[in-house]
Symmetry: C2
Subunit: 148 residues, 2 copies
DNA sequence: TATATTACTTGCACAACGCAAGTAATCTGT
DNA sequence: ACAGATTACTTGCGTTGTGCAAGTAATATA
């Protein structure tokens, strides 16, 4: 499992699993936007190709970050869900959000990203509650989407 | 500058810049290990190729995350250094470290990663102090390398 | 029973990566 | 002063990964 690692550094190990343009976006969609299905991810706006999405889902599953279960009422639908290991990525995503909002994004007003930053623990607690209770409504902060 | 973005989400934007297997490792080496030169990065253990390293350094410079200055006493040597934008990635790296140590790494003893987690703010303050004061000694926690 | 939906897979062109080798500028030892 | 070493790259080339379009199998709906 942890053979063929390029190094023992946990940052390096994390990046071997998550270091690409798409994996963490899938985690974001599961965590924040309440997405569950293949089709949801396809339509998430960044325009991932079907083959790339399939390969990333496969990788995330192999790494134990997500799992999939067939929907009881519709055998066609696979519902993806974060594992504990997956939801533990919440702080990583939050810090990426804060960094991007501060240094790169014109889309998130400074006031909103500063509020998220200030209420870091509250935000994480809410993300974890949603996961525990399978709350799949898109996450908002003060009535606004946090990613726009 | 922020044209041709696949979406307005700051997480997506961050990943377009940093979402690969190498960029954040270079930032780690600058931030934690006190590396400065091309040669330092080459020998950092993960085995990055020279052309890839050159292209990543170029990208990080273009993104304003690092800057390079020629060493006064040796004109051959380029010293790379994190900018403010670069040092602001410290929380992202820290969370990747914590996640990797908890879920992937056998190299970091649980006790040590828990201590880092508990002293999150102290750790970040120390990283920022080192940057301000140009302290390039490899960062240790209680006399141990934090990445092993 | 025909059509739609979901979650993929396959084929192909193109870009990125990884390794080995080479190069230009600068420094060091004699 | 000159040979050899050092630093920071670039170039070539074969392999791997990505992105798009099209196709497919299983299941659901009208």
């Amino acid at each position: 499992m942890n053979s063929n690692r390029r190094s023992a550094c946990p940052v390096s190990t994390s990046l071997e699993i998550l270091g690409d343009r798409w994996s963490l976006l899938i985690v974001r969609d599961l965590m924040i936007r309440g997405f569950r299905t293949f089709k949801d991810f396809l339509e998430s706006g960044e325009g991932i190709a079907t083959n790339i999405l399939a390969s990333r889902l496969k990788g995330l599953k192999a790494s134990g970050i997500i799992k999939a279960e067939i929907e009881a009422t519709d055998q066609r639908r696979l519902n993806y869900r974060l594992t504990k290991k997956g939801i533990d990525l919440a702080p990583v995503l939050l810090e990426l959000l804060i960094w991007g909002a501060r240094h790169e994004s014109s889309a998130v007003p400074c006031a909103r990203s500063r509020r998220i930053e200030k209420n870091r623990e509250k935000f994480l607690a809410e993300v974890r509650r949603r996961w525990r209770e399978r709350d799949a409504t898109p996450l908002q902060v003060k009535g606004r989407w946090i990613w726009k």
